[in-house]
Subunit: 652 residues, 2 copies
Amino acid sequence: MRTLSIVHAIAAFVSCTAAQTFQRLGGCPDLGCVFPPDQADFLAGQYFDIRLEVHSPINGSEARVGEPDPNFTFTITKKRGKPIAATKFFKVDEPKLERWDFSWYEDRFAEDADTPSIVNVTSKIYRRVALKEPGEYEATLNYYGSQKTVANWLVRDLPTKRRAKNVILFIGDGMTTNMITAARLIAHKSINGKYMTKMALDKFPVLGHQMTHSMDSFITDSANSATALYSGHKTTVNALNVYVDSSEDPFDDPKFETIAEIFRRHHPHAGIGIVSTAFLADATPAALTSHTSDRGEYDHVISTYYEGLTNYTWTEWNGPDVLLGAGAENFLKSEDAKRDYYDLFAQNDYSVAWNKTALQNAPNDQKLLGVFQTSNLATWLDRNVYQANLLNKTNYPDGSGRDADDLPGLKEMTLKAIDVLHERHSDDGWFIMSEAASVDKQMHTLDYDRALGELLELDDTVRATIEKLKHLGELEDTLVIVTADHGHGFDVTGSVDTKYLEAQDDDRHKRSAVGYYESSGLSQYTTGGPNSLRYSEGVHFPTRWDPRYTLHSGVVAFPDHHENYQVHKDGPRTPALAAQGDKNNYYASYKDAVSGILINGTLPVDAAQGVHSLTDVPVFAQGPCQELFGGVYSSIDIFFNIAECLGLSEGK
Amino acid sequence: MRTLSIVHAIAAFVSCTAAQTFQRLGGCPDLGCVFPPDQADFLAGQYFDIRLEVHSPINGSEARVGEPDPNFTFTITKKRGKPIAATKFFKVDEPKLERWDFSWYEDRFAEDADTPSIVNVTSKIYRRVALKEPGEYEATLNYYGSQKTVANWLVRDLPTKRRAKNVILFIGDGMTTNMITAARLIAHKSINGKYMTKMALDKFPVLGHQMTHSMDSFITDSANSATALYSGHKTTVNALNVYVDSSEDPFDDPKFETIAEIFRRHHPHAGIGIVSTAFLADATPAALTSHTSDRGEYDHVISTYYEGLTNYTWTEWNGPDVLLGAGAENFLKSEDAKRDYYDLFAQNDYSVAWNKTALQNAPNDQKLLGVFQTSNLATWLDRNVYQANLLNKTNYPDGSGRDADDLPGLKEMTLKAIDVLHERHSDDGWFIMSEAASVDKQMHTLDYDRALGELLELDDTVRATIEKLKHLGELEDTLVIVTADHGHGFDVTGSVDTKYLEAQDDDRHKRSAVGYYESSGLSQYTTGGPNSLRYSEGVHFPTRWDPRYTLHSGVVAFPDHHENYQVHKDGPRTPALAAQGDKNNYYASYKDAVSGILINGTLPVDAAQGVHSLTDVPVFAQGPCQELFGGVYSSIDIFFNIAECLGLSEGK
């Protein structure tokens, strides 16, 4: 039966090959759409909504005559059972019929010619249902008389015994194995090809790879991928914990519950911590509590931290215990945000910290909001090496226009989060997500030095976390996971003699500065010198960032840019600039690397930055349930493994 | 004591920072050189040579007055013991003193100006010694009165009980996690972001990462990296199972024993199989038996398959049981090779096969040499999809000038190797190395389609191998490992609408054909169609190689080239051509991708191809000892784990 339904699904999938890249609606195999879609996986008892749509395209390659079916029916069939009307199966009222239309382009030619295809839609949505019994289900939409769209759903049959008291999930946003290799090379000394010290990541007992693909595209963004990691559901680019329907409203899409919501529902006294070096409305932290098809709805994101969902009945949710990061602009009153969230959080018994000193002095027995600057947190490299770049930013988190010059890093934030959660939840345990966000952000702008600095800060944070957990007596009860949400196509192929490159007059001669194979030589980032940087015992970063021989780094796809393979001492890179302000027409910024060579882009000319890549990303695990994380698997298995380890499955 | 000696070594290492990329002699920390160098690891009982050198640079930044010391001394100190003269320690005669000089360039400026630095050398070499007792040793060279070079050596303390009867080591040359991800995407169907089938690699229970760095450069070549995998010793680019000394002779360098040699020495009736899709004199197969500082000494390589070493006393070695691959030119009499190796192998009771039919008909109870064409084996894509590319190659392995048109692939060769070794060595067990060589070779020429085809053939070979071992009742006694020797900086960032790209007039408009994030869409390589390719149950390759929407693939460093993101149906790519035959001046080949965009290179203009990259590469393991292969470690640990699993350590 399972096999048959798979064959059915493949046949349906093949039928829409004409629109593989430009899609009428992702996850919708024919004119009937069921969300959650075919092949969806569920935790037993996880709340979700069901969206049904019937499409009637009025023009384009799929054009048909007539209105979309208003009389479609929907049944659920448990394996070896009979189809049961969804209203009866879930004991809910029949939802009201909705109607709308939407348009899309079938391909780039249609886009250029501005000839959209228009689709009329009938739809219903079932809110807040759950499947409590593990097993296979068929969700069947019947429409246009004899047509059917079948979604095969699997409620995973997981052990229900809780094995971990605490879980800390580190996310190196955009981090790949290739970047870890490069970070190790610049921060750890080696002799004759052998490292004298190890990264914290290198010491993990279990290694896995996870596949990051989206539901309807093989490249994901961070909203979509964080959703998969936290909820077990793959969705569409830009979506946070909803499947994206074809309606315009970014808040009416079918939702599903996240690990934070489920953990708190099962254990009202368990602790939740959210830590990020991004602005806190950004996708990776947002995906723990937000539900919207548009990750750009920042006020929605902050409001869900504060009060959960208000537009529909959903899981009881009273906010994280600890919320630390940047992005003060979304907490202050503004055009977008009618409320002062600092006030609201303070009224809800949070202590509010605006700088590192206040963070470290905040009481451990109180909930804690820490917002340390506007925008993203300054990078490790700027906070620790090129500190002049922190000046004249007018980015103090109170909106006063001062500079934020007393900034914590990922390590200080994460260790404080553990202190608070340990103090407040030593009985019921806690879940922390800690994100090194700017590995991704700096890779986007081809600022490899800053990206690797962020990765090394993550590694140092992991090291310090393990030490702290040991000190607190919690290490053996804590599952520690380090992974990424997607990659960037980064690697290193050798070294560059920057002195030689500078001395040459033209690009073809400058390229002779590149050494590969035996001429790559050894890393000069770890050698000493009069001005070499020094760190505490066990802490590993480059002792210098500007050796004569640097890394020959690159990504596989890029905008037009200049490249001189040197650290940008004056602040983060801007590799491409819009010609006369035309955001559809980026050219290399000459100023970005004056002595560099010109590299013509391979991305569309409207791309100012690099983009995410396909590669599976690594997973490092230690602690209770570590054995679940070995080998190769889907990103959603991270969610199911954490849920299993916390005993959150309601099955049997 | 260990800590102290590490500090000493780091200090020494730092002293030569001026020559990190251009080095006087790799692995030589100061004017005294000891090979095996500092931090070398040994299997207890493994044979090796010791080379000592004392340098006296007569000009350049290290210039000194006087001859190199002819009276240097050399001692071995076991931990907590006293220094013992090497002659006494190893019970060998004092070697005779050698003298030579050599020159090198201190950097690219010196190279441009042709101002070499000259070095006079005194040297000795100790042949075929071994350390049988596990533990730490200091090898100390005393010279110029008070100067010392200390090499810290570790003989690993490993269990000696044999746990695996057989070992098969698959090497995807140049294969990375990124490539595995892309290969899966084009060969395995998915629905809503979830694969309906798995790669054989995805099913392995244990995953690791290995670091591939060379002894004296962070980018390795395949000779050096295969040496590390088979012997536990990291050396220099282009070297096969020797440390590279400064003498000119490519055959006098200090050797060390390989896994094939050690296994045969311990178990004279154990079987050895060598399988590769490369020419058999190529580095990855060669590194099982060859000992030379120059991987280009092809006649040496073939002679070591046939008779082992003849220039010095070394391990008894009477050749592999099975040797299958390509490169007939090195088996035929020629200017380089004075002997007809087909005759010699036949005289040594090998059956000799020149085509797939003969391979499959060869008796399983006889030793087997199979050489199927000149040069490298045609790629899977040309053998199976674009077969017209096999014509007019005059590459039949007998040198007759016919076409080789009855070619086996990696799978047929590997399964036959198992048949022969199982028949001949069912009591004593066997070791096979099977290499998918052209993952690397096709990545070098930016022919991503062909490279991924090779990777998928490797995966299919692994699948079929596991099935065969199960069928033979040998699976539980066989350690199966799949890994790589180094990476290429490959990844995929989206899709390309090739129809749209073709329809645009200029490069900047063509780039709009690239779709990323949600516009990457779904893989069209697995969808059906009237001419779609079909495979047997369980075999997964693309059903079409030329969909309208292809992968937006790239590498991080490249020569000048044109790119249209389409499969090359007329044969493997040649992305760059030498201008007027000048091998120091490569430009994009317009013909290679007529409709494509021009991408200016980031490698020196004398590079016709892409190059190897830094990234750690994956290791997949199953069978006895699989638990040794999890986590992150050095490439040399692959050797030590295999040796441990075969019970080859003589310690205690």
